[in-house]
Amino acid sequence: MGLDTVTLKIRRGEGPGPSRWETFKVPRRPMMNVVSCLLEVQKNPVTADGKASTPVQWDCSCLEEVCGACTMVINGRVRQSCSALVKDLSPEGQTVVLEPMSKFPRVRDLVVDRQRMFDALRKTRAWVEIDGTHQLGPGPRVSQEDQEVMYPLSRCMTCGCCVEACPNYNDRSAFLGPQVISLARLYNMHPSGSMQASQRLDALMGVGGIADCGKAQNCAEVCPKAIPLTESIAVLGRETLKRALFGWLLKG
């Protein structure tokens, strides 16, 4: 077969309803990524066997692997569709299989609702609190050493790759996931954020917290931003343990 088309096999469906597979053939152009393939489907939503269909729905925004919106399961592996290039996925015309992430409720086709991740951010207070809109002056300086640890952690875009690949993040467990643990570490290192450090550690000691990590370590393998998630989990594992074992000796 000539390489003038790209074959896409897409798992489609509405909300929690049944899934169906549809195959599309779109014109192949150099430098295509999965997003540009989906744009072609949108232009001409006719399946490979000539049946009229509807445009496939998906999320995307930045198109440079920074926002995380276009995350989906491509050929069985979670990743961003903007940085998934056709020349790598289908060098000899192989079918590209697209599925929505399985750990979140589906909205439609490849669009999922990642609310569970945002709820986890809330639970762990994964932000820096400000106590008003008045001028607070310059913040404290952060050492070069800490900056080098914090910068990689700050690259998290809440895309969902780590939780999609995590065997302990599922409908049977309340696990908050690796992403919030790493962000709690980041904000606990931040000079202003550290004022809520104990609250974050307490939140991580509840049901679904850090103790529910199963150490499968897929999170660090699939993270598109190469965040050292397993190290973050180990660091906060140590911090929470210290607080659980000795915290009550210092302060009731």
Binding site: G76, R77, D119, R122, K123, R125, A165, P167, N168, N170, R172, S173, Q199, D202, A203, M205, G206, V207, G209, I210, A211, D212, G214, K215, A216, Q217, N218, E221, V222, P228, T230, E231, A234, V235, G237, R238, E239, T240, L241, K242, A244
Partner: protein, 247 residues
């Protein structure tokens, strides 16, 4: 969820029982359950030096003061807690090695599988020897004969081989998990190195355990054939009072 809920959620999770229970599970696997596994395999290895040596080692343990309490509170109850809570943990996971076949992900799956196998094996093992002794079917002294008879049959040899392998793997990988969970091995490099160390500990324990099993089966005409002269010279058997399958 309104922003005010975030604060109440944080306060609600001040409850640390869940965290402490998980950490207790991790700890109980190393001490006392893991420590007992080491002791048990080490003591059993004395069988290699013969019936006398084995019975002396077992006799020393049986002479320990307060042994019933040590066994009940130091071994049995922690073991039951570790096993039952372990099943709860295993039931919460959805293994996905098909999509993500990384080493640690395989170890995650194998830790759960070996835990279940070890649980079943230990149950059978306790029934076979401990419960039979309590029921008066087996004598309290000189288990050597019973072990030789049982392990000489391929069925029991395979069951014990699998049971020992699963238990040792579960312990060695659990040791790695313990180091990582308790904040000892935090950096990626230390995780890698402790992996090598735990694999070495596991391999050594496995050799120790399987060697004892082979000894029981081998010397008495079990699954592994024994050269004629060693069978005769073997320091473990006494054809007069030990049931040998092919003397």
């Amino acid at each position: 969820m309104a922003p005010s809920d975030a604060a109440s959620t944080t306060l609600a999770s001040m409850d640390r029982r869940h965290f402490l229970l998980k950490r207790l599970h991790s700890l109980s696997g190393v001490v006392p359950v893991g420590a007992f596994l080491l002791e048990h395999l080490w003591t059993n290895a004395r069988a290699v030096y013969g019936r006398e040596s084995f019975n002396r080692a077992v006799g020393e343990i049986q002479a320990l003061p307060g042994l019933a309490y040590i066994e009940l509170f130091g071994i049995f109850l922690p073991l039951v807690f570790h096993a039952v809570y372990g099943l709860v943990i295993a039931a919460q996971g959805r293994p996905n090695v098909g999509s993500y076949g990384y080493t640690r992900n395989w170890l995650y799956l194998l830790q759960r599988v070996s835990g279940v196998v070890a649980f079943a094996f230990i149950g059978v093992h306790l029934w076979q020897y401990r419960v039979q002794k309590l029921l008066g079917v087996l004598p309290w002294e000189d288990q050597y004969a019973a072990l030789m008879t049982d392990l000489a049959t391929p069925r029991w040899f395979i069951a014990y081989f699998l049971g020992v392998t699963a238990s040792v793997f579960h312990f060695a990988n659990g040791l790695w998990l313990f180091g990582n969970t308790w904040g000892v091995t935090v950096s990626a490099r230390s995780m890698k190195r402790s992996g090598v160390l735990c694999a070495a500990v596991g391999a050594a324990l496995w050799v120790l355990g399987v060697n004892t099993l082979l000894h029981f089966s081998y010397r008495c005409g079990g699954v592994v054939p024994m050269p004629e002269q060693e069978l005769v010279q073997g320091n473990c058997h006494n054809p007069d009072d030990l049931p040998l399958r092919n003397p």
